[in-house]
């Protein structure tokens, strides 16, 4: 499976990483090198093998559905690039 320029553009878009048009060919080349390496997995007979979800067979723990912490608005906003009036601020989302 070979990745072309258009696929590279699409993947960059899905990952929300801006890639300049001029860089797409090089990026596609890098993807192909890595995916070429990964192709070896097709040699393995995986018939009947369940995909692993966790290295230790365990059921994820559940906790009571109660508030455990909160009231930390100031702390939560303290690292925000743009916080106003107790909120994270972002560019306009809806026209």
């Amino acid at each position: 499976m070979s990745i072309d320029r258009d696929t590279a553009r699409k993947v960059a878009k899905l990952a929300r990483i801006k890639v300049e048009e001029d860089d797409l060919d090089a990026l596609a080349g890098e993807f192909n090198a890595i995916l070429g390496f990964v192709e070896q997995l097709n040699e393995v007979d995986v018939e009947g093998v369940e995909p692993m979800t966790s290295v230790t067979p365990m059921r994820l723990k559940r906790r009571e559905d109660v508030v455990t912490d909160g009231n930390q608005q100031e702390k939560i906003l303290s690292n925000a690039p743009d916080a106003r009036e107790g909120f994270f601020a972002v560019p306009k989302v809806v026209e």
Binding site: V11, L14, A15, R16, K18, L41, K92
Partner: protein, 494 residues
Amino acid sequence: MSELNKLTVAEARDKLRAGDITSVELTEACLAATEAASALNAVVHHTPELAREQAKAADARLQAGDAPAMCGIPLGIKDLFCTKGVPSQAASAILNGFRPEYESTVTSQLFDAGAVMIGKLNMDEFAMGSSNETSTYGNVVNPWRRGNEDTALTPGGSSGGSAAAVAADLCLAATGTDTGGSIRQPAAFVGITGLKPTYGRCSRWGIVAFASSLDQAGPMTKTVRDAAIMLQAMAGHDPKDSTSAELAVPDFEAAITGDIRGKTVGIPKEYRMEGMPDDIEALWATGREMLADAGAKIVDISLPHTKYALPAYYVVAPAEASSNLARYDGVRYGHRAKLGQGDGITEMYEKTRAEGFGAEVKRRVMIGTYVLSAGFYDAYYNRARRVRALIKKDFEDVFAQGVDAILTPATPSAAFPLGQEFDDPVQMYLNDVFTVTVNLAGLPGIAVPAGLDGQGLPLGLQLIGKPWEEGELLNFAQTLETRAGFVAKPSNWW
């Protein structure tokens, strides 16, 4: 007393408890060594004020007779750990300026035990790399050099700053994290001990996530005994990490008895790689003899899916990374790109991530996005997870046959020059060929320095243990350490 920074954790602990030295003296020695070692670029955020404050508090505890083993011990902390009020940015520009409002569980356990932090240590960006060349802070330089050459060598990665700092005696020990070999490979490259515990032994809470099903924190130390002492303080169940194991933490140091008689050590034939340097082949054979000489039974074993570990890793790890790193969007913390007229929220995300992530991180996030995307999920991601199950079963099978530990080389080469492999990602990935299987199977693994190559560079051996048997693994490791008698240190050129 001079050169206190050269003490091991165990030596310092005993001297501190005996009142021969104070933590303040020990800490000052480490701070001075750190000041003088800027050429290594291992320490990227210095915290001398915090260190002095912690050292004073530790001395008070020691005087009061309340002194856990790590009390008063100066440590370096990998930049991947969130440390309250201290920059913690995973060596990424996207976390520029981030100062956590909280403390990771592992560092808070270490500090509760009285440990002192001299600073945050350099690493590969988001722990993605094997040479510490992807860091926003620049490369770390290995304290070791080849013979009389002055070629700058890599300390390995991703915990390259931790490795260099411990090898150069800037601190007594350091925290590391290991997703595919990031503790063990750098430890081997600088001639120190590096332990990756069983997945779930240490809490991942507050450690910047790379690949959550593989990441595990562990100690990087000058000796095997130190690794046992430090792991003791780092390990334990944490309700804030649902994958941390609800198991009692045994006394790891007490497990080091020096007696491995009657134990069985497996030698996996698949780890004999074509083109492996003779020095490493010879070291592996010597390691085998040393364990046999100590009374262990050596058996040949097969781990048939070894070859597929790296390809499986380079699907699973990027997939998890693409999901984990989605949080860096310029909204809640770190860098936000300057926006142009008319730019909306999508442009903000795309520009922020393009500016904030380095090339290797972008590459892995996008590969991860691709293997998880509709139409490819089964062919790549699910297939890799199936192969991962087979790799884990390989280990379960040999342990079921009575094998207690597995001996392999730690790395396929000694430390290489900075820049040598940087332009070829796939070549760089091969550094983890002997270590990555252990992460995929969730097992404990330890790198122990065991000799020097023809150019005078350290080489390590790896021991792999059964799940939750770090104590037994440390006992094997110490046997190897004692018999190898590795005492070489890099000469101070920095």
